[in-house]
Symmetry: C6
Subunit: 281 residues, 6 copies
Amino acid sequence: MHDRSGAALDSRAQQDLALDPFRIAGEPYYRPVAHEVALFEAAHRSRMPVMLKGPTGCGKTRFVEHMAWKLGRPLITVSCHEDMTASDLVGRYLLDAVGTVWHDGPLTLAVRSGAICYLDEIVEARQDTTVVIHSLTDDRRILPLEKKNEVLKAHPDFHLVISYNPGYQSVLKDLKESTKQRFGAIAFSYPVAAIEAEIVAAEARVDRRTAATLVNIGARSRNLKGHGLEEGASTRMLINAGLLVGNGIALAEACDVALVLPITDDPDIRDALRAAIAACV
Amino acid sequence: MHDRSGAALDSRAQQDLALDPFRIAGEPYYRPVAHEVALFEAAHRSRMPVMLKGPTGCGKTRFVEHMAWKLGRPLITVSCHEDMTASDLVGRYLLDAVGTVWHDGPLTLAVRSGAICYLDEIVEARQDTTVVIHSLTDDRRILPLEKKNEVLKAHPDFHLVISYNPGYQSVLKDLKESTKQRFGAIAFSYPVAAIEAEIVAAEARVDRRTAATLVNIGARSRNLKGHGLEEGASTRMLINAGLLVGNGIALAEACDVALVLPITDDPDIRDALRAAIAACV
Amino acid sequence: MHDRSGAALDSRAQQDLALDPFRIAGEPYYRPVAHEVALFEAAHRSRMPVMLKGPTGCGKTRFVEHMAWKLGRPLITVSCHEDMTASDLVGRYLLDAVGTVWHDGPLTLAVRSGAICYLDEIVEARQDTTVVIHSLTDDRRILPLEKKNEVLKAHPDFHLVISYNPGYQSVLKDLKESTKQRFGAIAFSYPVAAIEAEIVAAEARVDRRTAATLVNIGARSRNLKGHGLEEGASTRMLINAGLLVGNGIALAEACDVALVLPITDDPDIRDALRAAIAACV
Amino acid sequence: MHDRSGAALDSRAQQDLALDPFRIAGEPYYRPVAHEVALFEAAHRSRMPVMLKGPTGCGKTRFVEHMAWKLGRPLITVSCHEDMTASDLVGRYLLDAVGTVWHDGPLTLAVRSGAICYLDEIVEARQDTTVVIHSLTDDRRILPLEKKNEVLKAHPDFHLVISYNPGYQSVLKDLKESTKQRFGAIAFSYPVAAIEAEIVAAEARVDRRTAATLVNIGARSRNLKGHGLEEGASTRMLINAGLLVGNGIALAEACDVALVLPITDDPDIRDALRAAIAACV
Amino acid sequence: MHDRSGAALDSRAQQDLALDPFRIAGEPYYRPVAHEVALFEAAHRSRMPVMLKGPTGCGKTRFVEHMAWKLGRPLITVSCHEDMTASDLVGRYLLDAVGTVWHDGPLTLAVRSGAICYLDEIVEARQDTTVVIHSLTDDRRILPLEKKNEVLKAHPDFHLVISYNPGYQSVLKDLKESTKQRFGAIAFSYPVAAIEAEIVAAEARVDRRTAATLVNIGARSRNLKGHGLEEGASTRMLINAGLLVGNGIALAEACDVALVLPITDDPDIRDALRAAIAACV
Amino acid sequence: MHDRSGAALDSRAQQDLALDPFRIAGEPYYRPVAHEVALFEAAHRSRMPVMLKGPTGCGKTRFVEHMAWKLGRPLITVSCHEDMTASDLVGRYLLDAVGTVWHDGPLTLAVRSGAICYLDEIVEARQDTTVVIHSLTDDRRILPLEKKNEVLKAHPDFHLVISYNPGYQSVLKDLKESTKQRFGAIAFSYPVAAIEAEIVAAEARVDRRTAATLVNIGARSRNLKGHGLEEGASTRMLINAGLLVGNGIALAEACDVALVLPITDDPDIRDALRAAIAACV
């Protein structure tokens, strides 16, 4: 449609070089839970922007690393935060020995060179950063570099992925409707017990029985969600407990360090969690 | 009236070159719904500033691309956001090897060279950006570049277009009366079912029956607007579902990914939407 | 009183050159309504600062352009906004090849060279900008350029004019008493029907009957002010409707585009306005 | 006490040169009202910091200009505002051809060279600017230039004067107790009728009868203070009305422009003021 | 997993040099209270991020210094505060004689060279700083230097430690759940009396009887916590009192200076504390 | 403990030179009131950080100048304010002819060279400035210069002193508990009548009877504290009144200028104060 070919100035060789730090060398461990791999592949074929939804520590980041490896694409990950501006994503002029020189931001690099760009917890960023992706998420697939009066047409392989934790949003801080509806969404949650135990055993390098005990403890802590706990123990925390056990700490104390103390300072909740742990050991 | 000819310094050739990235090469697909094409052409003849009003994803951006192509004018699009300042539109001094050099912003480029300038969702921008367009939207048609003590008289072909989504405005964030009344307004909404099916079939490359099913689902979701949904499924989302179907995903799951999960986290609303989808498949 | 002659460094020739872009070449169309021309001329003779008060779109900007042309003085107009700082008015140091160089802002240029300086909607600006004009609006007529440790004595022809829309002010955003009382004020409102029709016919180049119909519609819309409308249709909007009629759009649809859609999204108010239009056509 | 002599680097000749723009060439017209001249002279002999208190437009600025002329001292006036920082007063590093070079701010210039420094409406400034004057207003009489690691001992002739309008202060914006108590205060108010008429006649160059009429109108407007008017007409506004009369405007219309329209938009108050004017003419 | 070796550019020798200022030369005095040393060592073996929780002045900082010495690792400590940005941690471009040059921040230095990085009171920092550590606290162990388009893989010896005072958190200022659950936590509180007396005697170089008296006073002040005192006297304050006694101040006056006056201005609480002191002396 | 010797790069001679402007040449007049001299000397011997508490104008600044003179140490005073950042205290990079060069801030200069650093009204500063002093106020006695990746070990003579006015603190603006407990505190208040008269006579150079009258007036004004006055007349204000008397102003008018007008605009409080003055004269 549009004949906007500023990207053509970079030779293919240069682009490949720039993306080298972002290639995933070995297969990241990922245990599929449902249809997420097939859905991602279908979306990727149309380059339809993808939103990964789900609670913290359930494997969204690992999943996108796995898919990047599987599809053989470089992956540029950006952890968003409330002080991040559009310039942090798109790029800016920096002062050089010969004057100001333009430096591509991570989004521009991905758009120009054809990487998967993963904006982690995009809702944390300021609204100007979300507006910046609008023209990349409809059929235009362009990124206006307004400070350069350049219109960058996306590389055919560019694919945009964002993550979004539904538990975090408030009235003040949510994606705009006009942003949300530009994405296909894939939902994530904690895996069922058998799969979670398989993951904990693999990642913490503990035996299956210890892993099963930890998963059992995790399930009980998740029942406390909404009863004094904002969130239960994630798979990540169960792995942390397993690692401490592997380093010689008793299981109850390992759970105290990895599951109880980090997430609550309320003595009653601590007692409830410790009782749940004691019942499982 | 005013004899302000700073623009004359740029030769016609240079201007044409600068606008090259902003020319629309092929005809963008656009299916007219009412008198919008005639109204835009009438306003364009008087260079009367135009405000496109309507919900997200109903085709305002596509319409302005279509009109730019039809009128043979370059189109400079700016996605506005709350951190955008007047300097982002007008331009600024940058440090070069020989000192500070002025760089036109996208609005100034359009004013100087005679493009259509489309300020998307201008109400998101800070008020200084809306004040900047005042002298361009009355009979003066000038843009004061205050930092340069220059007064730029608009190119005869310059035309200003803005978009405005009535559903978004709040008391805190709205255009000032003195801004609104400088524009002629054209209203947009979702097309009637037959036209929308035609659009979905064309864009997602699915058969007319699938497209009709999706449009039927879309209509049902729009009935939920105000009953737990901020907005129903837009035409854009129906196209996304169609694209997933074309990539081998079953229609119900495609709708889940494209229509349900992105716009709501409420289990009851999700159930209602899924029931509506099941009833149509 | 004060012998402060930094301005003497600029020769008269240089000053005249700098003001060239600000001279009004042809007579701007202006139809006087009351004594405003005589009052402005009297204030101008004493260089008494003038405040133009009145609603948006009633001709304040056109009036000051007319007076500048009539008095043969260059006119430097600044549209004020809430992000405008004193430096935007007064000037700043910019980095050049040989270090930092001072650049006069538009107010300083007017003070130094003897132009009329028109600060449009000054109440929108931050308070530091209003304080800056204090020493220019009493008998000192000086502008301290604090960053240069220079005290600039105003050129004898310098005259300050501001505009002020009484409908906009709130407790949080109003001129300070110590600012207001430095100005003589001239009040503006919409002209009586016969004069307004004359203006609409002249500016939109439509026949007197169409102009009279539009003025009649305008009057009815102004009756809705306070009953759901923040402001009625201004003279400017009637001219816009006239221009669309001149480009072949039917009068009712032209009024819809120019008078109804831009100023309200409330279906009831829209119906009321459309009924008023239908009654006049 | 302290032997801090950084100021000695500037020769006396250089200092005198720097102060030239700040010398008052001719005697500014000032009509004493009470003991204010004697009190200022006594405070000046001890270099005791002085605070001028009183409503806007009653002559505080003229008084300090008069005293500077009478005492033969240069006067550096700074109009404070809420965006003014300590650096605006003290100075800053600017980038030059050979790197960053220190530029004294107006306060530092006065401290170093021995001028009267008049901080007009200091309460408008941010608190860092008021803290900056603390070490200048006790027996230390030093100004630490923290960015230079220099401690500047005040020139023996340096004298600090501030103005303060009691009607403006709020809980949020007031001088700190620890600042107030460093000053001797002199109170100002509008002069009695005979003296005010003398001033109006002198400044507006009108006859004594017109001046007396204007002063009579001013007195009536001041009775409306607190009954819908924030402040009555100041001496300055009476002079403005007189100037318009001198330029051929009828007295009632001159009062409307100079006294009524600038200070109120309330139709009832306008009527009350106009009735008071009509009664006096 | 990822082959990201930008760090390899720095030779081992250069890294060791850069860390020299951060090595702990002698053994810092630390008296263990529970299992904290074993827990820290277990976490360190897996490089599991550690959160030290506990009230102010109970020895968290001393503990991490002790562990760094014990493990023979350099320690880079950053005191977080609310104006600290991600750039303060990660690094920034600075202007050099030959243009902009990248300077590593303290976190990047630790990641690149393999130090323990201790972020003291991280909850005080802005959220962008906490997001920055996310990719360092899961199995990726990478630090994206977005402004350089570089992905820094952590040195195998890099270990992240943070402190967290549960008494300080409010709804507005707390770590996000997704941050907390990335850490194993070790809890600290004031030591039991015998151990605390041992510490006071060792650090203030006073006899055991004086130390015991001070610890007794400390215990009584802690009983006032929540009854007018925000916190009781910390071990640190008892040591301060001991030091004053060692310099010849009477014990009651030393306690007044070190324990009473710094923490309360309420006359009743002061009396209560002084009574408690008098009872112990 | 730590072997961090970056400070060793500055030779002793250079350090002494840098501190020259901060040496107190002659003995500042100070009249001791209680044990404050002995307490300060004891704290100084252990380099225990000292907090001077007390109302404005009671002599805290004079006391620290006196002690610096008595102990023969240079004194670096910083008046804190709410716009002061950590960089203002610690230092920053400035652009020089050869690129950016580090400039020590006043705190760093004191730490490096061994001066007493007096942070006046530290609670006014932003929290980042108070966090900066934490590592200087425990046994580490280090100042991390994070922007330089340098850890500066304090000179053995470095001593930190802060002032704190209990009357000023609010919930929003107070020192954190973890800051307060790092200091020994010395309390100040207005001296008893005989001593205060001695001070007024010495500083204002008036006879003992006038001084006694002024002290009597001061005592009466302090009784009005809390009954309409935020604070009574400080010793400083009594001295100001004395100075005016010495310059020929009558005692009642001198008190009006120095004691009444600066601290209140309430007519009733003014009358009460004037009655108290009349009763004493």
